[in-house]
């Protein structure tokens, strides 16, 4: 087999079959993976959740993961946030002509491993090859369905005054990792992406608090953006204790260097959870028993006043508004 992907691999002929056999079937093999035009599946028992997400990360490989792992985590986590156990995924690849076959296989292997970890099956796929320069390396879109655990009803509109706000781990690591991996600012730091599939964390949450109000994964825009979204959707205020937000020291260091706010750096393995205050401790304990929830912490609570706003209690005990998310992240000198 060639060591790079060529346009012929996307033409639908023999080479396409070869690519599918040797990369995708090899890694995605499971009883439900279709060789026909569509997968034929048993419907979930209860209500179903369905979502889709596109992935175009640059660079495609970074400390702590690659675009393949990311593409599974992203969709699995979106389903999980609705209280849905991820069941099936489809994935669609757009690959740039000349992309390394070895790298592609590495991506597929990461997808296999991550899917296995959370018990989700890849049931259908598609591959297109685009001419050199038409895409950057490889783009992946995944679509997933999951079965919602009976009795669980999460929604961004359900945050209520008094709710405790929990994050499942330290914030901003994925965004920081990508920033460093692009090597535009000459900064070195030992930071690894938090990219992780979070169904196990959600299981922990809903076992401890089946009436959990909101679960959302803090991806693009970070935890800060999620807080503003929920404040708006639920028409409540949010009070954040700045000093309680877990941030790795080296992430803080990078942020100080570039004038960035860790709360706005992307995570790919962190949830923001709103639960009734009396259940908060129980949820934190449950999260700590899961693989990706060891650093879980209560970071604030929901208020009736200051609707639509996120107010922080600062290091000197005063209040300050968390600046609203906006535009592209630009390092500042002044």
């Amino acid at each position: 087999m060639n060591d790079t992907v060529t346009l012929a691999h996307g033409a639908g002929g023999e080479q396409t079959s070869e690519l599918i056999e040797r990369v995708f079937k090899k890694h995605f093999s499971n009883p439900n993976l279709t060789a026909d035009d569509a997968a034929v599946l048993m419907p979930p028992k209860g209500r179903m959740a369905m979502t889709t997400d596109g992935f175009i990360v640059s660079p495609a490989f970074f400390p702590g993961g690659n675009i393949g792992k990311l593409s599974i985590c992203g969709t699995v986590n979106d389903l999980s946030c609705m209280g849905a156990k991820p069941l099936y995924l489809t994935c669609s690849f757009v690959i740039e002509e000349g992309f390394s076959m070895e790298k592609l296989e590495e991506i597929a292997a990461a997808m296999e491993k991550t899917a296995a970890e959370c018990g989700v099956q890849i049931v259908a796929g598609d591959t297109k090859v685009a001419g050199k320069g038409q895409v950057d390396g490889v783009f992946i879109t995944t679509t997933g369905v999951g079965e919602i655990v009976e009795g669980v009803e999460t929604s961004g509109t359900k945050a209520a005054p008094g709710d405790a706000i929990i994050v499942t781990g330290d914030v901003g690591r994925h965004g920081c990792t990508i920033l460093l991996a692009r090597d535009e600012f000459g900064i070195d730091a030992d930071v690894t992406s938090d990219c992780a599939p979070l169904w196990s964390a959600v299981q922990g949450i809903i076992e401890a608090a089946p009436d959990v109000h909101v679960i959302r994964d803090a991806t693009r825009g970070g935890v800060g953006t999620v807080l503003y979204e929920i404040a708006g959707q639920s028409q409540v205020g949010i009070r954040l204790n700045q000093t309680d937000v877990p941030v790795q020291p080296q992430v803080k260091g990078v942020c100080r260097m570039l004038g960035l706010e860790p709360l706005y750096l992307a995570c790919e393995g962190r949830l923001v959870v709103f639960v009734p205050a009396e259940e908060a401790e129980k949820v934190v304990e449950a999260l700590k028993a899961t693989p990706y929830g060891k650093e879980a912490a209560i970071i604030g609570h929901v208020t009736e006043e200051n609707v639509g706003r996120v107010i922080m209690t600062t290091e000197i005990g005063t209040q300050s508004v968390l600046p609203k998310p906006g535009g592209e992240l630009l390092p500042r000198i002044c």
């Binding site: 000459g186 006043e305 209040q319 609203k324 630009l330 002044c334």
Partner: protein, 353 residues
């Protein structure tokens, strides 16, 4: 130390005569808002945000020059991130980028030089803005270009110096919070000598402790009723400052009259590369035609920068002009007074809940 009041106590218990304190530095403005320091102040103390954000005082014409270089001369523009969204007469650099301009955000001037070295096929211009703190870094980048023997690197200068602003704004202010990192370079002699002209001030650092200490000093010394100077940032700022930096800049730059956005031309308040370094001056190298920048006439950034009005008094504030769609420069930079007001300004003082 039980007999001495803490900085916080001094600030929260002041009920003497009305005191207007201007933080000159944009980073101070930003930190004061971020830390919620205004909530500690009594009604007798007013903090005014001054013109010390280089992005805010960079005129529209400068952005026009950079865009001209990028679009007409296909120069790669390297810039601090803050400048990318500043509106020029027609568009910002971000807008120009959408039209094909190559704009590279860098952390430091020396990174722009390194980029030029690594891309000999491109002409690279660094947008050299900033006050005394930043100018030496630009000079070092030019020195490095000379040492590396590269000729595809130049500066588009808009470097400014602070002292003229201290004179220009003194009638609106009782006490300046001097910009600690400018003083780290320049030392404190000039600020000391301003006392003879009746101008009072305190050099401040940037942490919560340092800002509270500086404000407490301003309050205590004002009570004595005569002009004063205090260096409240002695762990970084010395009387002499950085003699190396002063020498470096003096050997490479000449003083010029320069335009401050919103304030107009202030004599001898700017710097440009001197004749010896003309080859690294983008205006000479690319024969940039004169550009008269036009700003939105309703924008009152100028008065905001002088502390004459508060941001919400501008008719554009929060309506036509927001951080996502800035009209005036004070809204663009996270340190601009308007942006800080918009972002943090209307937190109710519910500290006593």
């Amino acid at each position: 130390m039980s007999e001495r009041l803490s900085a916080r106590d001094i600030i929260t218990s002041y009920h003497g005569k009305k005191l207007r304190i201007m933080e000159v530095c944009g980073t101070h403005t930003h930190e004061i808002f971020r830390l919620g320091i205004r909530q500690l102040l009594t009604p007798e103390v007013e903090l005014i945000s001054g013109p010390g954000c280089p992005v805010c005082v960079t005129p529209a014409g400068f952005i026009d020059e950079a865009i001209w270089l990028a679009l007409e001369k296909h120069v790669t523009i390297c810039s601090f991130g803050d400048l990318v969204r500043v509106p020029g007469s027609k568009m910002s650099l971000a807008g120009a980028r959408a039209q094909g301009a190559k704009v590279q955000v860098v952390y430091a001037p020396i990174d722009a030089e390194e980029y030029a070295k690594a891309h000999p096929e491109e002409e690279v211009v660094f947008l050299s803005v900033g006050f005394e703190t930043t100018t030496p870094s630009s000079c070092i980048a030019v020195q490095q270009a000379i040492e590396d023997g590269i000729s595809n690197f130049a500066l588009l200068t808009a470097n400014k110096t602070m002292p003229s602003a201290y004179h220009a704004l003194k009638d609106y202010v009782d006490v300046y919070l001097y910009p600690g990192h400018v003083n780290a370079i320049t030392g404190t002699k000039l600020c000391e000598s301003l006392v003879d002209e009746g101008i009072s001030g305190v050099v401040s650092g940037f942490t919560a402790n340092e800002l509270m200490t500086a404000i407490a000093c301003a309050i205590k010394k004002s009570e004595e009723g005569k002009p004063f100077f205090v260096n409240a940032y002695p762990r970084v700022v010395t009387r002499e400052g950085s003699v190396e930096a002063q020498k470096l800049v003096a050997s490479m730059m000449d003083e010029i009259d320069t335009e401050w956005r919103g304030l107009g031309v202030i004599p001898k308040s700017g710097l440009k590369l001197n004749e010896k370094y003309a080859a690294y001056d983008a205006r000479i190298k690319f024969a940039i035609p004169p550009m008269e920048g036009r700003s939105n006439t309703a924008c009152r950034c100028g008065e905001v920068l002088q502390g004459k009005i508060k941001s919400p008094e501008c008719p554009l504030f929060g309506k036509a002009c927001t951080p996502l769609h800035p009209v005036g420069a004070c809204m663009v930079s996270g340190e601009g007074a308007c942006s800080a007001y918009y972002t943090y300004g209307n937190v109710r003082n519910d500290n006593n809940e």
